[in-house]
């Protein structure tokens, strides 16, 4: 940054102090060079790219590049917005100008789409924004210095910096909006040719196509400008008529661009595109505080932000007030001022009255620097020219040659100092603008930018795919997902990253349940034979909470899946696990259990069936006797059911299953088991004994059928019931496992205590978790080297209605 500051300072010093007019072209080259330098610094700081929208566009471009098709056309399930012709047209046209340019350049230059995507808008911005700003300023009649300043300020305005490197349709829209200003002025010239109007018309169409917001802003500029032109021609015939025309036209322009077109878009969106459409509401204004009502965006700014974002506006408004021109130049100036007013009106209308806007309201403010910068440059030039550069006539001091040279020297050094201070101020303004952009992206933490390591991980997966040709799907944290889609494209069914929402849901589920079921669900999306799970420390903290034990999660995942790669270091280190999907279950002969069959002891084999080791079903088939007493099954098995229902059943899922049956029928007893949980230290699968109440509110109960315990509470919302059980001083356990389900209004929690009586301490608390409809396995890591003496089972109602939690089993495991 000091280097960048020095370069910026040098640029401004050259602009202010270098006198030769023939050097304007060279100075403009320096402005362009500085503009490139700004973008290079930003690109390096944000490498490999800002996450979210820019990467999502990269992913779409990647799909175009690989398949030559629009990504939604690859969706395995038909999408509602693609069903009707209008919906399809609306959907597929979005972003196509940006995609067209990036993919075409990538193909003809033989450069990877990633690089073309990353640098295209930055290059266009760096090269053309200073040129257009210079040309626009010259057209309105400023000096060369003001025009150069305008070029520099527009290219590096703080509000525009992140847009100038974030390759999104909106960024392209902003850029082409600025191009429109220049083409508009060409078309407004008295000697304008038909091709100038054609050029303006074509560019406006392109701007509208690129992004509806930028299209609206372009219309806000063009309509009043042509209204003004008409006004000037009418003014000669009748001043009153001309004024009336201008007032009406201004109102019409405001109305069209702030009400009619957004309303039409809103209606269209309601019927075409599956997102919440915006709507008009007076209530929104009533909900705003007085500061927001008056100061709008400035109400939430810090002091530095106010200066950084407000300086251009402040100087720009002064420029609008002090700069006077006549004739056609006045028309250009008035057009810009009118556009400035209309964009501000649009912003206030959106801020006060539009609920659920489809984009951030403050995005409208991004248009303002394009309009303000030439005026701000005029103000700065005015300050310099009138207050600094204008030196008093020195001839009156001629009586003493010595005095003259002293005074001249004094004046000159005063001018240089003042110019130097202005240049330092401007350089600080631009450097701080960059720093604000860095801080803004950094404020998002690890999700601000994509990850280089995620790129490496995605590359490894891709190379593996090229080697073995096996279709895969990835479940990943959001940045690995984001970066990965940029690498293989959106909806690439051979190398698939799931749709964003689905990926997040399955990722969290995988981490919480430490189960392969979410991965199997992911594999169903594209019939993948391989599933990759990418996980990072920060994402576990973000999704599971700060209390999550990342090491424990990694150990558990290591047991379940093959560790494919570890990429990077520190918090952003990515662990990649690979799991081969088994679509058909494995079946075979399982362990023996003891059965007393009509009073005769025998050992019978079970059978097993599983797709993954965490979810094995063991079945014991019984036939030919009227009574059975089943016992001695492995401790980590959990009794599930007997089918068909026996005549009598006496059950303690911890130890025995006694049943009276019809000898002619065949009965199947099934157990569920997780083979990763074999080292059971303590387990309660029946909850038949030792459970007693500790705290209860309202109506509550705890009942067990020998297999599942039902703990229920009906009390004020948020109230809970707490049953406890003494443990036989359990030692050496490293994790707690619970299989639980419950009603939709129920939450559950478990805590474990060490010690007895007054020495008792709660050393583990699971926090409340919402119950699911189906049985779910919850695994918690425990503090090591602790003896557990007591367990609490807590149920809570969220809405005051009866809430029931069904406890299948709770157990403590060793590593």
């Amino acid at each position: 940054m000091p280097f960048y500051f020095a370069i910026t300072l040098l640029l401004f010093l050259i602009m202010f102090l270098e006198k030769s007019s023939s050097g304007t072209g060279n100075k403009l080259s320096l402005v362009i060079f500085h503009s490139f330098l700004t973008r290079v610094i930003l690109l390096i700081a944000f490498f490999p790219g800002i996450s979210g929208d820019p990467t999502s566009h990269l992913a779409h471009e990647r799909t175009w590049d690989i398949f030559g098709r629009y990504y939604l056309n690859l969706s395995p399930t038909p999408l509602p917005e693609m069903q009707s012709l209008i919906g399809r047209i609306y959907t597929v046209q979005r972003g196509s100008v940006q995609y067209g340019l990036v993919v075409s350049l990538s193909k003809i230059l033989c450069i990877d789409v990633f690089w073309v995507h990353t640098v295209t808008i930055a290059v266009l911005w760096s090269l053309f924004v200073p040129i257009i700003a210079f040309k626009v300023s010259k057209i309105v009649g400023t000096s060369d210095r003001a025009a150069l300043l305008a070029g520099s300020l527009t290219a590096s305005a703080p509000l525009l910096l992140t847009w100038s490197v974030g390759s999104t349709t909106n960024s392209f829209g902003f850029f082409f909006f600025f191009v429109t200003i220049y083409f508009l002025f060409r078309a407004l010239r008295p000697d304008a040719k038909r091709r100038d109007t054609l050029l303006l018309f074509a560019t406006t169409l392109v701007v509208m196509w690129i992004h509806s917001l930028t299209g609206l802003a372009a219309l806000s500029l063009i309509l009043p400008a042509f209204g003004l032109k008409k006004y000037q021609s009418l003014k000669h015939a009748s001043h009153g008529k001309a004024s009336f025309f201008m007032a009406s036209f201004f109102m019409f322009s405001c109305f069209v661009t702030t009400a009619i077109l957004p309303a039409a878009m809103s209606i269209a969106l309601t019927y075409i595109y599956p997102i919440g459409a915006p709507y008009f509401s007076f209530e929104k204004m009533l909900g705003l505080d007085i500061y927001t009502l008056v100061f709008a965006n400035y109400a939430s700014y810090t002091f530095v932000q106010t200066i950084m974002y407000g300086a251009l506006s402040f100087l720009g408004i002064i420029g609008m007030l002090i700069f006077r021109q006549s004739g056609e130049k006045r028309l250009y100036l008035s057009s810009l001022i009118l556009a400035f007013i209309i964009v501000n009106v649009q912003y206030r209308v959106l801020l006060y009255f539009i609920e659920n806007p489809i984009f951030g309201v403050s995005r409208l403010l991004v248009f303002l620097p394009f309009i303000e910068a030439p005026f701000a440059a005029i103000t700065l030039d005015y300050i310099y020219a009138n207050l600094v550069a204008k030196s008093p006539n020195c001839t009156e001091f001629k009586f003493s040659l010595r005095n003259v040279s002293a005074i001249k020297h004094k004046l000159a050094s005063k001018q240089v100092t003042a110019a130097f201070l202005i240049c330092v101020g401007l350089s600080a303004f631009i450097v701080e603008g960059n720093l604000i952009s860095f801080r803004y992206i950094a404020s998002f933490g690890p999700v601000g930018t994509d990850s280089i390591w995620a790129m490496d991980a995605a590359r490894l997966l891709h190379e593996d795919y090229l080697r073995n040709g096996e279709r895969y799907v990835v479940v990943a944290d959001e940045i690995s997902w984001d970066t990965g889609t940029g690498f293989v494209g959106t909806l690439n069914l051979d190398e698939c990253y799931l749709p964003k929402g689905q990926n997040k849901e399955l990722y969290i589920q995988t981490l919480k349940e430490l189960s392969a079921a979410p991965l199997e669900q992911a594999a169903m999306y594209n019939n993948a034979s391989l599933v990759y799970l990418m996980t990072t420390h920060w994402s576990v903290e973000r999704y599971i909470g700060l209390s999550a034990d990342y090491q424990f999660i990694l150990e558990s995942l290591n047991k379940m899946y093959e560790q494919f790669a570890v990429v990077g270091s520190d918090d952003g280190q990515i662990h990649v696990f690979r799991w081969e999907v088994r679509w058909e279950p494995l079946e075979g002969i399982g362990p023996e259990v003891s059965v007393i069959k009509d009073s005769e002891l025998t050992n019978l084999n079970t059978t097993y069936s599983y797709k993954y080791l965490e979810n094995i079903t063991y079945t014991l088939t019984l036939t030919g006797a009227s009574t059975y007493e089943v016992s001695n099954w492995p401790r980590h098995w959990s009794y599930e059911q007997i089918s068909p229902a026996p005549i009598n059943l006496s059950l303690d899922a911890n130890t025995y299953i006694n049943l009276t049956t019809n000898p002619a029928s065949t009965y199947n007893i099934t157990w569920f088991a997780n083979e990763y949980h074999q080292n059971v230290v303590w387990k309660d699968d029946s909850f038949k004994s030792g459970i007693y109440i500790h705290h209860g509110a309202g109506n509550y109960s705890f009942a067990s059928d020998g297999d599942v315990a039902t703990e229920s509470v009906e009390a004020e919302p948020g109230q809970y019931v707490l049953y406890q059980k003494d443990l036989p001083s359990v030692q050496g356990s490293s994790s707690l496992v619970a299989r639980v389900k419950g009603s939709t209004n129920a939450y559950f929690a478990i805590s474990l205590w060490n010690g007895t009586g007054t020495q008792r301490k709660e050393l583990f608390y699971s926090r409340y978790q919402k119950c699911t409809d189906d049985y779910t396995l919850y695994v918690y890591s425990l503090p090591r080297n602790t003896t557990w003496n007591l367990i609490w089972l807590v149920s809570r109602t969220t809405d005051g209605n009866l809430a029931a939690v069904y406890w299948d089993y709770v157990m403590l495991l060793q590593d």
């Binding site: 072209g25 175009w64 398949f67 030559g68 098709r69 629009y70 056309n73 399809r88 047209i89 597929v92 046209q93 196509s96 100008v97 940006q98 995609y99 067209g100 340019l101 993919v103 075409s104 350049l105 193909k107 003809i108 230059l109 033989c110 450069i111 266009l124 090269l127 053309f128 040129i131 040309k135 392209f172 082409f176 191009v179 091709r195 100038d196 050029l199 074509a202 560019t203 392109v206 196509w209």
Partner: protein, 135 residues
Amino acid sequence: MEAETLEKIIATDKRGLFTILALLSTIGIYTNSTNVSSFFVGVLFVAIYFVINSIFLGRIFFQDESTNFRVALGLLLLFTLLAAISGLAMFVVALEIFPVLFTVDIVVTILFITTIAVSLIKRTQMRLSYGHRKK
């Protein structure tokens, strides 16, 4: 040779040599994209293509500007044109009415047609301005 002279030579080329050169560069681009896949070769051909067509477009639309601005604005227009036409092609492909994919064939066709169209407009303009001067 100065840049201004080069611009003048390319812009006032009556024999269409530079149009042919631009068309040959599209063939070069196609060959490189489909067979060689070299970044350097790609940049070389694209540079030739962009320089010629930017100068042509600059002459058509920004004749009143100085040489540097004319070429720069021509380049801007060429980018805009390429973006818009490629976007339109993508839009048509995405509708899936015709069984076509957005491949390098389509991109090179766009470049080819753009060169021919720009060249025709420039030639017509030159002929008209020559006619005016004769009168």
